[in-house]
């Protein structure tokens, strides 16, 4: 059950990234380029996703359990740290340079381009580099 529900969740998520074309770096950069020919598509995608996910989060937050009744605690919502801000800024630099974030980077691998492989290897090396520098695994 857990395997199949996660598979369905991944299929929906991946189909959404493909349909919205958020796997296209130029589309993402078109949103980030506020001084150029601005394309608001990413805001529609993110807004639509948040609107559908929010009731599910409300349910789990109130019940402290998922739909199957399994105890589920959501991450802290209020603790602001330097790591949160600094890490998000570093991510923003990489995202702004490339127009690619982690989900789309995996979709791009299916095209088999050398660019997609280099980017994905960079991400994984970044994971291990951050772990090595901080001396511990980041919380998921």
């Amino acid at each position: 059950m857990a395997f199949f529900s996660a598979l369905i969740a991944g299929l929906l998520f991946g189909a959404g990234l493909l349909l919205s074309r958020m796997c296209d770096p130029q589309r993402v950069l078109g949103f980030l380029d506020v001084a150029g020919h601005w394309n608001p598509a990413l805001a529609f995608t993110m807004g639509g996703a948040i609107a559908v996910a929010a009731p599910a989060f409300y349910f789990v937050r109130k019940r402290h359990a998922d739909l199957l009744g399994v105890a589920t605690e959501l991450p802290d919502r209020f603790k602001i740290t330097r790591a949160l801000i600094g890490g998000s800024a570093l991510f923003g630099i990489g995202w702004g340079l490339s127009g690619i974030c982690p989900g789309p980077s995996l979709l791009l691998l299916t095209g088999g381009s050398i660019q997609s492989v280099v980017f994905a290897v960079g991400i994984v090396l970044g994971f291990f580099g951050q772990e090595w520098l901080s001396g511990k695994r980041a919380s998921a």
């Binding site: 059950m1 857990a2 199949f4 529900s5 996660a6 369905i8 969740a9 991944g10 929906l12 998520f13 991946g14 189909a15 959404g16 796997c23 296209d24 770096p25 950069l29 001084a35 150029g36 598509a41 529609f44 993110m46 639509g48 996703a49 559908v52 996910a53 349910f59 359990a65 998922d66 199957l68 991450p75 919502r77 209020f78 603790k79 602001i80 790591a83 949160l84 890490g87 998000s88 570093l90 991510f91 923003g92 630099i93 995202w95 702004g96 340079l97 982690p102 995996l106 979709l107 299916t110 050398i114 280099v118 980017f119 960079g122 991400i123 994984v124 994971f127 580099g129 951050q130 980041a138």
Partner: protein, 134 residues
């Protein structure tokens, strides 16, 4: 509203459906950087849920194709950008999916702030690359 924006919105509804499914049926947050980080450490979770999610994520693109893709940079810059995305999302505990979609849907102040930081930083970088004097 244009067909293109409808596609963007419908895609978003599907993404939200995926995040809601993973939360309601697996009790997990669809944060792709975190899922991928655990997976590359060989930690696939109970019933291999992380592996299942990642397989599902790429199947539609593998079946139907990506459509036209134009990379914005050459390989050296893409490599550096990948490193920054990997290290930054781990240091900041999330990416566009974990903070931008799931965190904001959970009304998390942390995630809202993280999202504002990475979107504004990325917009600044795009401005400098495309419109900077250099």
């Amino acid at each position: 509203m244009t067909t293109d924006l409808w596609r963007a919105l419908l895609g978003g509804l599907l993404i939200g459906g995926g995040a809601a499914t993973l939360l309601l049926l697996n009790g997990k947050i669809a944060g792709i950087s975190g899922i991928l980080d655990n997976a590359v450490h060989g930690e696939f979770g109970p019933k291999l849920w992380r592996l299942a999610f990642l397989i599902g994520l790429v199947v539609p693109a593998a079946l139907f194709g990506l459509g036209p893709i134009v990379f914005a940079q050459g390989l050296p810059v893409l490599a550096v950008a990948g490193l920054l995305v990997g290290a930054g999302t781990r240091l900041g505990s999330g990416c566009t999916s974990g903070h931008g979609v799931c965190g904001i849907a959970n009304l998390s102040v942390r995630s809202l702030l993280a999202t504002l930081v990475f979107i504004s930083t990325a917009a600044l970088v795009v401005f400098l690359v495309r419109h900077g004097a250099a």
